[in-house]
Amino acid sequence: MVKTLPDDMHVLTGSYVLDALSETEREDFERHLQRCPSCEAEVRGLRETAARLAVAKTIRPPAQMEQRVLAATYQTRQLPPLENERFRLLPRQKTVRARAHLFQRTGGRVRPRAHPLDHPRDHPRDRRRLRSPRLIGAFAAASVAVAVGLGITQVSTQHQLNSAQASAAAITKVVQAPDARLETMRTRTGGLVTVVYSGDRDAAVITTTGMPSLPSGRVYQAWVMSPSGARSAGLIAQPRLASQLLASGVRSGDQIGITVEPAGGTSHPTTKPVLVMPLTA
């Protein structure tokens, strides 16, 4: 692609607002925006204009969407505000501030520490916790997808709404446990599996997204694998979209496995796992 000279940057305001730039150009332009107040002002006005183009295409959404979204908000943690210069900061908050700055300077590609899993702790067992902002970001995105997914599959009656919220509460307890650790792996056949494990709660939350579709009559089944054998952790309901399972009675040293099994699942794994993930507290 032709390299855009700084002088040509200003003309990209329109294409930027309409999301018509490639990812690289978008990033270049966002960097440029930081030092070009007139571009920034123009972007604001054009963004409002684009919003009118959207409003002009208003379509009444499917009726069931509202209940799903509202239910999903009860399962979704909100981001804290970005740190602001106006507030005096305690020393331990300085990292957050630095990251928030980086976040703004880079146009949002570095996320500020925003997830409960991402708070540094002094406990030695936390040393190996994954702190990659990208992973945490991916997990947050997966959680959103899953929350919506739960809405789709489970929220059709008030009773089911309550049970969806109950299991969401159990999941939240694991995810927010002080010793919770997050691991993400790709399966042999594609798709991402994120496991949040809490040794204190003896439980793991297994989140899958983008797993390849299976022929009819086949399902993905998750397992907790320990020296004494494998125990089913349930079937993955929507492999292609996003699914979440809660496995209890999980000990450090156990492994999470996923296999392809006949519809309805089996009592023991019968095929070579597409994923095996060791858990350590």
Binding site: L18, A20, L46, A50, A54, V55, V69, Q78, V144
Partner: protein
């Protein structure tokens, strides 16, 4: 060609309303979010449908966007733009990301047929007739053909500007300038203030 009429759709009062509701949402107010949903669900779903076409996929993306509004409400800054623009920016970008992701490879691979251009104009008859719709159409009429087609293909079609250039058989540089000039004219015609 320039009109500066009062704009009930985005009049000060309503705009501030949505902004202050979003501030409440950032504090975890579910009731405020219900009202935000009422304001935004139609435009969010509409613009996502416009880009993605497929109703089921659009519903999924619109849900993600609205949940993202809930999740990131604390990042909305009323000093930097309206609540609608903030949310609809998220919506459009999500829809475009979906188009460009590998899931949408098949859509890209269908080489653009001439009648697809007309198709970009509207998603069926489901779009609600509104004052805002009329105003946008009238202001669109005031653009040159290349300005209008570039904006439609980029925003409603979800095409990148090089794709737009190819579709309209004009130079890349031309598309970039026409999109910008056209949007500036739309902004002035609709009396957008920001």
């Amino acid at each position: 060609m320039r009109e500066r009429q009062p704009d009930p759709g985005a009049a000060g009062g309503e705009r501030r309303d949505l902004a202050s509701l979003l501030v409440q949402v950032a504090r975890g107010d579910h009731q405020a979010f219900e009202r935000v949903y009422g304001e935004l669900a139609g435009p969010v779903y509409g613009v996502v449908r416009q880009v993605l076409r497929d109703p089921a996929q659009s519903e999924e993306v619109a849900q993600e966007v609205l949940l993202e509004v809930w999740r990131t409400a604390s990042r909305f800054d009323p000093a930097r733009g309206s609540g609608a623009a903030w949310a609809l920016t998220i919506a459009h970008r999500r829809a475009v990301d979906r188009v460009r992701s590998e899931n949408a490879v098949s859509r890209r691979e269908q080489k653009v047929a001439p009648d697809m251009m007309a198709d970009v104009a509207d998603v069926a008859d489901e779009v609600e007739a509104s004052l805002e719709g009329q105003r946008v159409r009238r202001c669109m009429d005031g653009l040159t053909e290349i300005q209008r087609e570039s904006i439609k293909l980029a925003y409603y079609g979800g095409y990148s500007y090089p794709e737009v250039a190819q579709l309209l058989e004009v130079a890349l540089g031309t598309v970039k300038t026409r999109i910008r000039d056209g949007l500036i004219r739309m902004r002035d015609c609709m009396g957008v203030e920001w």
